[in-house]
Every structure is written in C-alpha cells, then in structure tokens.
C-alpha cells in the first residue's frame, strides 16, 4: 500500500462532562469560566486521529500531522493527554477554538496552514477530521477547508476506510435511517469527516508520548497567531442545549415501577 500524507484537523473543546453556560463578553459570546474548564481533544477529531494512525501503520511511510487551531496553553495541556496515544506531528495555530468562532474564518486559516505544510504532496493527501465538533455540531469547517483546497471527494459520517487494489478508497459512510453507504473513490486527495470509526481508544504508551513531545513542544512554541473572530460576525443570540435534570427521592419504589417510569420517559418525544 502506498504511503499517505494524512492531515488531521482537530482542536480542543471543553471536557464533555462539564456544565456549559454562554455569557456575553465585549469580544462576543463565550463560555462562562472558559479558562477554568478542563479541555480535551474534540472527541470526533480524536476518532479521526486514531483512525489516521491506524491507517499509517498499514501504509508504511505514511505521515500523520495533527493541525490544531486553539489557544496555545490549552493545546499544550491537551497534548499531555493525547500524545501518549498515537504517533503524530503537531502543527499548531494559536487562536480561539470555542464554538462561537466563525467556521468560515477557521476554515480559511486551516486551509492556508495545510498549503504551507512542508513537502505537501496533494496527490497523497487525506484530510481527516470529525464530521462535527463537540463544541458546535455544524460540521461545516472540514467541508470548507476541502473546498478551499480544491478537493472534490468528500465523505462524512465515516466509520471505516479501506484501501482497495489499485489504490482506491472504499469508505463506509453513515446515511439516514441508521444505515451505512459504501462509497468508492479513485484515491487521494480526499476529505474524510469521521464519525466514531471502529477503533477503541488507544492505550497510553509513555514511550510514544516522550517521542511525540519532542516535536509537540517546539510546535507549540512556534505556533503562529491565527486571526479568527475578527471578521465582523455578530451573534444575535447563543444558547447551549438545556440540560434537564429532575431529582426526586423515592424510598419504596419497586423495580417494576422504576422500569415502567423509564419506559414512559424514553417513549416521550
């Protein structure tokens, strides 16, 4: 199998376990106490990164680059958790990564950064990312990056990628109704927006972590400022999905009654 140049686009999002609350700031909407919220690599991008590393092991000579646009300090923190998972090279852009940054601007910066990657071979380029983001489910950034780079073959909701004889790509894409569709393209370049994929989260490998960090820290130190959020986009209003939580104390409810209540609850729209 010929080697690929796999570029994974992914950044940080607040740890999904946290309680989020939008607030208005002079710079536009933001999350309350955003600086204090623990962050993780966007889970969707995480799937893409793990799939990229898996593909790279099957196609010797392949290179995985994680291109991340986010606050440098948060990126540094998140890399401490990610760098032990799979081998990759980091290219960092220092800028805001919240759900309120304009996808159009982010895509422009990311596309520019991809074009500037040293030794970029568009003929072997696979652009990976999440099919959406945990900070905003619009799922458009990756598509716009692909358009800016002139890559017409784009696949979203990807759960599996196989390289077929002749170098073509066979892709399992999620479609409506909980089904998959098999798509085929001639080969790279292609854009793949990953759903969950089929791989378990890789185990921590300290040796790998140390090797990755030798490149990660210099990459963070030379992260260029990414001017996003300055395009004049105005948000009329923002909201996060309302978390509904109702607690009541029941001391003598039987298992049957509890089961009936759960059934009623999940039967609601």
């Amino acid at each position: 199998m010929a080697a690929f140049q796999i570029v994974v686009l992914g950044s940080v999002v607040p740890d999904p376990l946290q309680t989020l609350e939008p607030v208005a700031t002079p710079q536009g909407p933001a999350l309350k106490n955003e600086a204090m919220l623990p962050h993780v690599l966007d889970p969707w991008a995480g799937h893409a990164l793990f799939e990229a590393a898996h593909l790279a092991t099957r196609a010797p000579g392949s290179k995985v680059t994680l291109l991340a646009l986010g606050p440098r300090q948060k990126l540094q923190q998140v890399m401490m958790a990610v760098a032990q998972k799979v081998p990759f090279e980091l290219v960092a852009l220092d800028g805001p990564a919240g759900g309120f940054t304009d996808a159009h601007e982010v895509a422009a910066r990311l596309a520019q950064a991809v074009e500037k990657l040293p030794g970029l071979d568009r003929g072997r380029l696979l652009l990976f990312g999440g099919w959406e983001s945990a900070s905003r489910g619009a799922g458009v950034t990756l598509q716009m990056v692909g358009e800016r780079l002139g890559i017409p073959d784009q696949f979203f909701g990807v759960d599996q990628l196989s390289v077929v004889e002749g170098g073509g790509l066979e892709i399992l894409e999620r479609v409506e109704g909980g089904k998959h569709q098999v798509s085929v393209c001639a080969g790279p370049p292609a854009v793949l927006g990953w759903a969950t994929g089929n791989l378990p989260e890789p185990k921590n490998n300290p040796q790998l972590g140390m090797a990755n960090m030798r490149g990660v820290m210099p990459a963070l130190q030379k992260a260029a400022a990414a001017p996003v959020g300055q395009g004049g986009v105005k948000f009329e209003s923002v909201a996060v999905p309302r978390a509904t939580r109702e607690t009541r104390i029941e001391k003598d409810l039987s298992a049957d009654q509890i089961a009936r209540e759960i059934l009623e609850w999940i039967s609601q729209d």
Binding site: Q18, N33, Q73, Q77, M80, A81, Q84, K203, N204, M210
Partner: protein
C-alpha cells in the same frame, strides 16, 4: 501483578515523579528553570546519552489539577518561587481580605455534644449576643491566622504551574497515567511500574491488554499524597522511622458554589468554623473572585462514630443559619473530597533512600497546628529541586547519603521543619474529646510546641467506637438492631436512618446547593473512570468483612462507591470513586499483627473531572 509469557515494556529516564500535586509543582518549577536556563551548562541525560536530562511526571487523575482541594494559605514558599506572583492571573485566586472564626452552636438539637459543651453553649447564649446560632471569636489565634495569605483553587493553581513548567519544554507531565508501584531492589528504588491497561476488574488481562511499562529512573520522586499507593508501598517495605506512624486522618469534603448576585461576601473572605454539625467536625468558607465560594468540612479519624458520613454532614453544615443566610440561592459548580494526613511530622516516613526521595503531604509536611499543608508541600518540592540540581551539577549519584545531604538537611534547616516540630503533638488532645483537643491545640500553639495534651494516638482502626455507644441516650440498642436489619434488607448504609432517628432534619433538596449524593458526583465532581483498569479498592479477606459489623467504609465513602454487599462483604463501584481514600483509614479491621487493614486501596485510574476544587 505478573503474567507468564508477557514481555513488559520498559524505558529509561533520569527522574520519574509520582503524582503532580503542590510538592511536585515546587520540584518541577525549580528543576525546569535550571534545565531551561541558557546561561548555565546543560545537564546531560545518563539514561539517554547525548540528550538533555529526561524528566517525567506521572499523574493518576485524568488531567492535572483534578481532584485536589481549595485552600487558604500564607503561600510563603509559593511566593518565594514566584516573586512577581499576581493572583489575578490565576483563576479563582485572590488575596485574603477578611478572616473570621465562628463557633457554630447547634440549631437542630441533634448534634452529639458533651455535657461540658452543652453547658458552654448555654452560657454563650445567656451572656453573649449569638446571631444565627454562631459566636464569632474576638480574634483568630496567631498560629491559625492566614490574614496575609491567598485564597486559591489548588486545581487552578496546579494547572497554571503545569502550563508554566511544560512551556519550558524540559520536563513532561503525563496525566491519566497511574503508577502502580515502585521498582524495589532491596532498599533501593529503581523506578516505577505503570498500571496495567486492558484488564478486568480483578486485574486479569482482557481485550487490548497492555502491561504497565517499567520506567527505570536514577531518581524516583514520590509525591503521591498520603493515600498514594507508591508511598504506602515504601512505608510497608522499608518501615517508618522509630516513633513515627500515620495515626490521624481527616477527609475534607467541599463544594464550589456560584454565590447569589446580591451576596454580601467580598472576595478574599475566609471563615473558619467549629462546633457543628458535630463538635468534632471543622468547617470553612473561602470566597474566590467573581462571586464564587468554596465551603466544606473536615471529618477526622478521631470522630468515633462508625456512621461518619461526610456528605450528609456537609449538607447540614451548609444549612447552618450562619452559613445558609450567605449561601441560600447559590448554585453548585463543583464538588470533591480528599483525605488529609493529620499526623504531621509524626507521620513523616523515610524521606529518602537509594534512588528515591519523598516530598509533599505524604512525606509528613502538613502542619496540623496551622492547618496548612499546600505551602509546606510546595516548599519540600523546592527543597528537593535545589538539592537535586546540586547533585546533578556535581555529578553525584542519587544515593541515600547524597540525598540526605542535599535534600533532608535542607529541609531540616527550613521553616517547614521548625514549625512542624511545634505542631508535632498539637492534635493529641482530641483523643480525649473536642474541648480537651482545642485546649491541647492552644497549649501547643501558644507555648511554641513545648506543651501538649494527650499521648500518641492509637491506630485509626482502634479509634472507631460502636454505633450503640455513639447513639447512647438517643437511640436504644434494640432500635439500632432493628434499623440495622432494615438497612441490611434494603442494601443501604446506616447513617441516614440513624441520623433521621437521632433528630437530624431531612435535607430539603433544592437542586441548586442541596442535591443528592449521586447528583453531586455527576453535577459537581463529573466523576468517571476509564475502562480497562482493575478495581483499586479490594477487600482482602471477605470473612473479616463479614465479621466487621461496623462497615465504616460504606458509611464514609464520599461517593457511595462502596455499598453494602449481599454476603456481608461490601461492593465497590470503580466508576463512582473519587479516590479520596477515606475508606482506607476508616477500615476498622486490621490484619493480624500488621498495620495494614483488610481494605486495600491500590493505585487506580479516573476520579473527579473538575479542576475548580
């Protein structure tokens, strides 16, 4: 655990640190500045010749700053390390603006108070103006005062320090990577073994098995706190210094709250409380910037109730009129719990040996008179850092003798040691009761440690009384037996039924501050555990559990992770555990002839997912 036919990977580094808390923060700040200083000769790695010194730190929690506690501290060592420290740059940090000490009287009539205390309460109410059932002490004793200090969220402080340290690029901190044990060769430590991944609850290899790596290091810095697995392994293998032991503990449980918009509390306000919900339970309220407060309690090992539920007591504490008038309308942001080693310098283990050194709370640095531990822990890290730099520059190996000279001697000459000696016996009087304990603390404090009350405390397992004894005069033994049988049948802990019966009011859950314990886990602690790790709480001999009769582990469990089991042995749910370790020192069943108890608290993964604590 060893597995036949399994090749365990290994790698070599120069320095491996176990745990990233305040002590390791102090150590790595000191060391990383030296390593990154271009004006001084580079320090070369012996583990990887030709490379710079290889320094790694493994932290159990899923991120740095998860699962530690908020604090008010004089921050002497922290300020010395960061002379231009601006609290405004660290989220939730602010200078102390006001410090008060409140004695909380019992507004419920349910608190267990001695005759002496009841008489004192009556006198107070008769001769003093007592507002909201609280009496403000006219002054805070000098040895407790933190008026020149800083209110921190330790989680946020550690995240800030970790960012500073990592940005130098010369050391690496790896969260989500628990260390299982030290690699011991005789009395020497040769590095650490990371926990096995891809195992079942019993630690047997399963899908994706990845044996924990052996990380060999010339120096292992053990800073995994008082209930850390590596520190306790060394205590067991190498023994404690003569006359030293870990006898006194407490679990601190707290909430972080968004205060109401009209709160009268100014940032930097510090309240210390004692007297309620039980006289043995101390409390605190610290106000951070931005209308955020930390409030919580300490439940000590010398509180002799076997049904010592931290969570229910915390809820009663928050509802005390003197606090509730400030907290009503607040909203829960975060919640957590942590064990505190209250033996202070008497709990100091061997501070170093061939290839290892110990720093931080697990090294006995906490000052139990001043109620101060974070700054002391940070100071011990700085002291080790300075010592290690000297040894590296001199080309000296990390032997017992060299570490004694470079680190322990430095520590002995410091304020941490001087003040630790003053505090050494300050808590002994509490074994005879709260009033005696307070008198003992005052004696120690005002006499500079020359006077104290009481003797060396017994093993914590022997400090726990009987349920019948604790509720004597309130609930008959017959009724306790009936309640016990009923709770047994329902598979629930005893404490709620007993406290209800003893007159404690029920908790009016409001979904804001007063939430169920499971909601505190989900909304406040965001607790979770990654798959593929073994259970870290294990009951060694089920027969001993069946004969226990007290099951203090079930009652005190901060997260309801330990529950009554069908066959008399408690069950453990790893996904709820916050790793506070209170079960470890609350287990009343000692193994025959050993310091160890039947409940094993091993290295584990996961826990709190909040960095605001």
């Amino acid at each position: 655990m060893t597995f036949e036919g399994v090749t365990r990977p290994s790698m070599d580094v120069d320095i491996a640190c176990v745990g990233f808390g305040p002590a390791t923060a102090g150590f790595l700040v000191t060391l990383s500045r030296r390593l990154a200083d271009p004006s001084r000769p580079p320090l070369e790695s012996r583990a990887a010749p030709g490379m710079p010194l290889q320094v790694v730190c493994y932290e159990r929690a899923d991120d740095v700053g998860f699962g530690v506690s908020g604090v008010v501290t004089r921050a002497r060592a922290i300020r010395a390390a960061f002379p231009d420290l601006d609290p405004a740059k660290i989220p939730m940090a602010t200078l102390v603006s006001e410090e008060r000490m409140l004695y909380l009287l019992d507004p419920t009539g349910a608190s267990r108070r001695s005759v002496t205390l009841r008489a004192a309460d009556r006198t107070l109410r008769a001769f003093h103006r007592v507002e909201d059932h609280a009496f403000e002490l006219p002054f805070t004793p000098a040895f407790l005062r933190k008026h020149d200090g800083i209110v921190f969220s330790i989680g946020q402080l550690l995240q800030w320090v970790a960012a500073e340290v990592m940005a130098t690029g010369v050391v690496q901190i790896w969260p989500g990577t628990p260390v299982g044990e030290a690699l011991l060769e005789g009395r020497a430590v040769r590095g650490v073994r990371l926990l096995d991944q891809g195992v079942d609850r019993q630690g047997r290899p399963g899908a994706g098995f990845a044996p924990g790596m052996d990380v060999k290091a010339a120096l292992t810095v053990v800073a995994d706190g008082p209930v850390g697995a590596v520190g306790r392994q060394l205590d067991e293998a190498l023994g404690m210094p003569a006359g030293h032991g870990r006898r006194e503990w407490a679990v601190g449980m707290k909430v972080v709250l968004d205060l109401p918009a009209d709160t009268p509390l100014a940032a930097g306000t510090v309240l210390h409380t004692f007297g309620f919900p039980e006289p043995e339970i101390f409390g605190f309220l610290y106000v951070h910037p931005g209308r955020v407060a930390s409030a919580g309690i300490f439940v000590p090992s010398w509180f002799d109730s076997p049904t010592r539920t931290s969570y229910r007591y915390l809820q009663h504490f928050l509802q005390h009129p003197a606090l509730w008038r400030l907290l009503k309308g607040a909203r829960l942001r975060s919640w957590g719990a942590k064990s505190i080693l209250e033996s202070g310098r008497r709990g100091e283990p061997l501070l170093c040996g061939e290839g290892f050194a110990r720093i931080g709370e697990g090294s006995g640095s906490t000052n139990v008179l001043n109620s101060s531990g974070v700054d002391e822990a940070f100071a011990t890290g700085v002291q080790l850092g300075e010592g290690v730099i000297g040894l590296l520059e001199g080309g000296h190996p990390f032997t017992l003798e060299h570490l004694e000279r470079a680190y322990v001697a430095r520590r002995r000459e410091s304020w941490v040691e001087r003040e630790g000696q003053v505090a050494e016996k300050a808590r002994h009087g509490f074994q005879r009761g709260v009033v005696t304990g307070l008198v003992g603390m005052a004696l120690s404090g005002f006499s500079g440690g020359r006077m104290s009350l009481g003797n060396e405390p017994p093993h914590p397992a022997e400090q726990i009384g009987s349920v019948e004894g604790f509720y004597a005069g309130k609930i008959s033994a017959l009724e306790i037996a009936r309640i016990r049988a009923d709770c047994e049948r329902r598979g629930v802990p005893l404490h709620d039924a007993l406290m209800d019966r003893a007159g404690w009011p029920s908790i009016p859950l409001d979904g804001q501050v007063l939430v169920s314990q499971q909601d505190a886990l989900l909304l406040g602690g965001k607790v979770q555990a990654p798959a593929g790790y073994a259970d870290h709480v294990v009951f060694l001999d089920p027969e001993l559990c069946r004969g226990c009769g007290k099951r203090v582990c079930v009652e005190i469990c901060s997260a309801e992770a330990i529950r009554p089991g069908d066959a008399g042995t408690p069950t453990f749910d790893r996904e709820k555990c916050v790793h506070c370790g209170a079960c470890l020192w609350s287990c009343p069943t000692r193994l025959p002839g050993q310091e160890r108890v039947n409940l094993q608290f091993r290295a584990g993964a996961g826990g709190l997912h909040s960095a605001e604590n």
